[in-house]
């Protein structure tokens, strides 16, 4: 007869484990009770500020509305990072201006709703996201997304979306894609769709892969309760699409980028495990 499986920690070590777990859950509770109200306040502040600042920027300073809103969204992301900072450690690698040609197409792996907010860590503000239909249902964000020129890939259809993306790139606006199309449910990198890569080849725009990890610990898909986490972001070297010009070369580009992101994420996970030891 085999022995029943015993819990891995016994005696004092179990007590330490239980105590650190309860400390963590208290920290998570404090995090949720403070961060969400602050996020609501931050959002309300930007919503109230926009009708004052945008006309002033347009008529007095002659600034393009889309450009101003994209700057606002970037500042919003940076403030979000400050609000999160007591509970979330942000580690960045290679997020310097020289890594991001202007304009460029940024492809990011997708783990959490908060991935978009993390783009406040990018070294420039003139970027627009290509997204699916559902983010436009958030009525408090939708007007800003529209003014910033975010592209609704799902509703537009391929041809119109690609024309819109090309127009933004020609205006010097960098575009950000989640090539998986949705958040990963298991932390693994999913299948990549071709849109970003086809656009890069057609418009001869450099592509910058960016890896993100830890946001699935912060707020996993389908959850509302946040947890303290370490979020790591790494920009990989840009890739020129000029070497990929054939009928199916965007597929080769897609495969190469996916391989690089996959490898970088594996390295990030390994570093994370080593630092946790």
């Amino acid at each position: 007869m085999t022995d029943p499986v015993r819990p891995s920690g016994t005696g004092p070590s179990r007590t330490v484990l239980r105590s650190s777990r309860s400390r963590l859950s208290i920290q998570a509770l404090i995090m949720n009770l403070t961060v969400y109200p602050l996020l609501i306040l931050q959002t309300l502040f930007f919503i109230l500020l926009a009708p004052l600042v945008l006309p002033l920027a347009k008529f007095l300073a002659g600034r393009d509305v889309g450009r101003t809103v994209r700057y606002f969204i970037w500042v919003y992301g940076r403030i979000w990072m400050v609000i999160m900072s007591p509970f979330v450690r942000f580690e960045t690698d290679g997020l310097s201006a020289d890594r991001f040609p202007v304009p460029c197409i940024i492809v990011v792996n997708h783990l959490s709703f908060f991935d978009i907010f993390c783009m406040g860590a990018l070294p420039f503000s003139n970027g627009a996201f290509t997204v699916r239909k559902w983010p436009f249902r958030m009525f408090w964000y939708a007007p800003f997304m529209r003014l910033a020129g975010y592209v609704d890939m799902e509703s537009f259809g391929v041809d119109r979306a690609m024309r819109r993306c090309s127009a933004l790139l020609s205006q010097g606006v960098s575009l950000m894609f989640f090539p998986e199309g949705h958040r990963s449910r298991d932390g693994e990198l999913g299948r990549f769709y071709s849109g970003a890569f086809k656009l890069a080849v057609q418009t001869d725009t450099p592509l910058v892969p960016v890896c993100i990890s830890g946001t699935d610990q912060l707020l996993p898909p389908g959850r509302f309760f946040m947890a303290p986490a370490t979020v790591r972001m790494q920009a990989l070297g840009s890739i020129e699409p000029s070497g990929f010009s054939g009928e199916s070369d965007h597929v080769a580009l897609r495969k190469q980028v996916k391989e690089r992101i996959d490898q970088a994420l594996a390295d990030m996970r390994r570093c994370s495990q080593e630092s946790n030891k």
């Binding site: 259809g157 391929v158 199309g181 299948r191 990549f192 769709y193 071709s194 849109g195 086809k198 009928e247 199916s248 597929v251």
Partner: protein, 84 residues
């Protein structure tokens, strides 16, 4: 080329191109709803099948009516019969 060879060639080509799981590629599987392909993938799918079977498919009107893997197998089988 037998029907089984056509199925195997199509499945191999599409799983390599779109990272699809062979187990998901049943004849009933809908290309868009079940396998998650989009309209850009549909264009790439035609190119990859042309390369796999060595014949031109993009001008065929019937290709626009393909919805499931079963439709795709039948379309290729028909095309191969025409060419033989």
């Amino acid at each position: 080329m037998t029907q089984q060879q056509i199925i195997e060639t199509v499945n191999r080509a599409l799983s390599e191109e779109f990272e699809l799981e062979p187990a998901d590629m049943s004849p009933e599987a809908h290309l868009y709803n079940d396998l998650g392909l989009d309209s850009l993938d549909a264009v790439d799918m035609v190119i990859v099948l042309e390369n796999a079977f060595g014949c031109k498919l993009r001008d065929e009107k019937a290709i626009q009516n393909i919805r499931t893997m079963g439709d795709l197998y039948a379309f290729i089988e028909e095309k191969k019969k025409e060419l033989e």
